[in-house]
């Protein structure tokens, strides 16, 4: 009940006009509705004389109108834009900021993370469009907006771009941007100091809550519960919530179902690794911003060499730039080749999560199922394959593999290993499949590009 619809607000004005024509003034049209908090409707007027008139002559009539229109026992309060009188200000929701000693008053945003600086491409178009839509009308389009993707693909950039946009276009809105870790720390600190009330006040009275890397809520039972209530309060009062994570909601380990379903409520969108053209566009933008003149063939070369994420692209620009500066000659293809010589030759250790991706993709089962407890054949078999492949291509121990795949015993892994090994000998088709999966794993991509 912390907001009014436009119809309710115009209903209030109409009610006053109809029932209390004697107090109505022509400038009532310009009154603006600010918010409904703690049972008080905040109405903003243009100047102090107006405010005095409203408070002294019209408070009762507006209260009556607000009660009739909302069906709730509310009261009203009149404030002036840029109020300097000091006695009738909008309640400042950040009164309790000093509660958290290490929290800066201003939220820290990277000034470069704006929409202008974001390079869109097929891999991130949906996430970008959703973020723009949300920043244009927070709380009304996609709520919550959940962006997930691997590291360095621009989640934080989009999150902060929304904050920048809202801060510059709607300065009255109360924006809170923070990492999940800060949320947990604040919560623990509040519990520790018996200041839960302040904590709740702080978090439940924002207009835009943006939390980065929400997957860190995993395993935090109490924080999850608190976040659940914060989420509900904001959601019910149509405040915008934006979250990011490195995987979709249902794959965040040990996240309560009620939170998973809430995260899926609005829009869940994924950012994929950028394609070649996008990588080139990113490189051009980054080079231009740093006033570097990179020829097109160098850009193409770097983009081909480095196919992971924007951070590594930036690192490559640095390497090429520094190298050519040392040589004292402009950047060209040969110096770039020399500078980046070792980048792609390093073979990266294979991550066990990649194997999971590849196997889940191939068998078309959910990753969470493979890591889960179900022992249905359609799931147990892919799990055994995944264990087998992990044993083959990594140096993880049986215990480590078992615990990654749903906390299983090392003997289970051993059994899977023997079973798949035997089947492989007997079944040519399986053997081919395993080879195919292995090559995808060493290429580092869950989808077969060939």
């Amino acid at each position: 009940m912390t907001t009014l619809t436009t119809t309710e607000w115009s209903g209030i004005l109409n009610y006053v006009r109809q029932h209390h024509a004697n107090i109505t003034r022509h400038w009532f049209d310009q009154l603006r509705f600010i918010g409904l908090q703690h049972g008080t409707v905040d109405i903003r007027c243009a100047n102090l004389p107006q405010q005095r008139y409203l408070s002294e002559q019209c408070a009762r009539q507006f209260t009556e109108a607000a009660q009739v229109e909302t069906g709730q026992l509310v009261s009203v309060r009149f404030t002036v834009e840029d109020d300097s009188s000091g006695n009738q200000t909008v309640p400042a929701p950040d009164v309790d900021l000093p509660l958290f000693a290490n929290e800066p008053r201003q939220i820290l945003l990277n000034p470069e993370y704006t929409f202008d600086q974001f390079v869109t491409g097929p891999s991130n178009r949906l996430a970008h469009a959703a973020s723009v839509a949300v920043s244009d009308s927070p709380g009304e389009t996609y709520n919550p907006l959940f962006i997930h993707g691997s590291v360095g693909l621009g989640k934080t950039h989009l999150l902060q771009a929304v904050c920048h946009h809202i801060l510059s276009h709607r300065p009255t809105l109360n924006v809170l941007y923070l990492s999940c870790e800060s949320f947990i720390n604040h919560f623990l600190e509040a519990v520790e100091r018996g200041a839960l009330h302040q904590f709740r006040y702080r978090y439940r009275h924002v207009d835009l809550l943006v939390i980065d890397d929400i997957q860190f809520l995993a395993e935090r039972e109490r924080s999850q519960e608190e976040f659940f209530h914060t989420f509900n309060t904001l959601y019910q009062s149509r405040k915008q919530i934006i979250l990011s994570a490195d995987c979709p909601p249902r794959e965040i380990p040990s996240l309560e179902d009620r939170l998973v379903s809430r995260f899926n409520w609005g829009l869940v969108t994924r950012i994929d690794p950028p394609c070649l053209e996008t990588r080139m566009a990113i490189l051009r933008k980054k080079a231009r911003r740093r006033n570097l003149d990179f020829p097109e063939d160098v850009i193409r070369f770097i983009a081909t060499r480095i196919d992971s994420n924007a951070r590594e692209l930036e690192g490559a620009i640095n390497a090429v730039d520094v190298f050519s500066q040392q040589l004292g000659q402009p950047v060209d293809l040969s110096s770039a080749k020399e500078a980046l010589g070792d980048v792609s030759t390093v073979s990266r250790p294979i991550a066990i999560s990649l194997i999971l991706d590849v196997v889940a993709e191939h068998f078309n089962v959910k990753k969470s199922d493979i890591q889960g407890k179900r022992r249905h054949k359609s799931i147990a078999f892919p799990r055994q394959v995944a264990m087998y492949l992990t044993r083959e291509v990594t140096s993880h121990s049986l215990e480590e593999i078992g615990s990654f795949f749903g906390g299983r015993d090392h003997t289970t892994v051993l059994h899977a290993n023997r079973l798949i090994g035997r089947l492989r000998q007997e079944d040519n088709y399986l053997s081919a499949t395993l080879d195919q999966l292995k090559s995808r794993i060493s290429n580092g991509s869950p989808v077969d590009r060939g």
Binding site: M1, G71, L73, R200
Partner: protein
């Protein structure tokens, strides 16, 4: 530490401590009760860091002094089941030994040094309230406070003290209860503070003896409530309480008087056939009676007529029956007096100068 203590007194103290201690918390020390044996008394302390309690037990023979921290819920269970008149608590090494005539329990103890400080009551209170007055204030307001903590600033009750007058206000956005009481002696500046509902329930629980007078003291961010053996402390809720005076309508032109028992019975019966989602009964006021109608789309409908004295134009208005029954329970006397205006405007129940209850109607269409 070794103490011989009267079981019933210990049980009473532990009950209070258990309602102040935290039920779920990442800090186990907050689920404990700190028992201190002093020269001639036993002191129990518990807190969840928002509210705290100190309770002295005089009915104890202290054989040796000391201090021990144990989980309050378990100790309470042990003592509650104990049939002996007195019981012996003794700290031996790291265990608290609880010895009765036929039983012996050993509980592992926590580190008393980790236990947070709980404020003590010192000097005089800002004002005092008799047990009877305090109980009546709480009974008449607490039920109208918001139940969930979502709209947090009013998850608490406003204590508004102006000079010799105290007003306690509770609202959940659909109803508002105001209890007023004159104070005999009041010191300190006027104050407007919000006390959490949980603290108010604890206040209610410490009223065991009707002849006790409670001292109330407001500190910068805390309230202390003190009677002979017990001090309750609570942090105050920060935030803005709605300007409650504006909420109370002044222009009611319909008035109803009725017998409280008959009226309440009518509401209860009319509510029998209402559905859960549309919890509302329709009240039609005419000259000498009100017809209360309840309807449930799945089950049927019913109506009850109650004789009233009604002064004003006929009126059809809907209310949540529970909101009406809640106030019937706390109104004194035989008669209920109700002021109404329109079908979309709140109604007011009044009892003399000292109590009023504003309730928002429900839209019937």
């Amino acid at each position: 530490m070794k103490v011989n203590v009267v079981t019933s007194a210990l049980l009473e103290g532990l009950n209070l401590a258990a309602s102040a201690a935290a039920s779920r918390t990442p800090k186990p020390v907050l689920q404990g009760v700190l028992i201190t044996a002093q020269k001639d008394q036993l002191l129990l302390m518990a807190t969840d860091l928002e509210i705290g309690i100190r309770h002295q037990i005089r009915q104890a023979e202290v054989l040796s002094t000391g201090q021990v921290l144990v989980p309050v819920a378990k100790l309470l269970q042990i003592i509650r089941e104990c049939a002996d008149e007195t019981i012996v608590l003794e700290l031996v090494k790291n265990a608290l030994h609880i010895t009765g005539s036929d039983s012996h329990f050993q509980m592992f103890t926590g580190d008393a040094k980790d236990f947070p400080a709980i404020p003590e009551f010192e000097g005089q209170g800002d004002f005092e309230l008799t047990a009877e007055l305090l109980r009546s204030i709480i009974d008449r307001t607490l039920f109208a406070a918001a139940k969930e903590s979502t709209r947090y600033a009013i998850d608490g009750l406003l204590w508004d003290r102006k000079g010799q007058l105290l007003r306690v206000v509770a609202t959940d956005g659909r109803r508002l209860a105001v209890a007023t009481c004159p104070l005999n002696r009041a010191a300190g500046p006027d104050a407007k503070v919000i006390i959490p509902s949980k603290a108010m329930s604890l206040f209610q629980r410490v009223i065991t003896d009707p002849d006790v007078t409670f001292q109330v003291k407001f500190l910068s961010n805390q309230v202390l409530l003190h009677a002979t053996h017990t001090t309750v402390s609570s942090v105050l809720v920060e935030g803005h309480f709605p300007p409650y005076e504006d909420v109370i309508p002044q222009d009611c032109n319909r008035h109803m008087h009725a017998n409280i028992a008959q009226f309440a019975s009518g509401v209860r019966r009319a509510a029998l056939l209402t559905s859960d989602e549309s919890k509302a009964i329709r009240l039609s006021f005419t000259d000498q009676e009100v017809t209360m109608t309840g309807r449930s789309p799945e089950q049927g409908e019913g109506s009850v007529r109650v004789a009233v004295r009604y002064d004003g134009e006929p009126l059809e208005i809907g209310f949540n029956p529970q909101f009406l029954l809640d106030v019937m329970k706390v109104l004194g006397g035989d008669e209920v007096y109700w002021e109404l205006k329109e079908a979309n405007r709140p109604g007011i129940f009044r009892e003399g100068e000292n109590y009023l209850y504003v309730v928002m109607p429900v839209n019937l269409s």
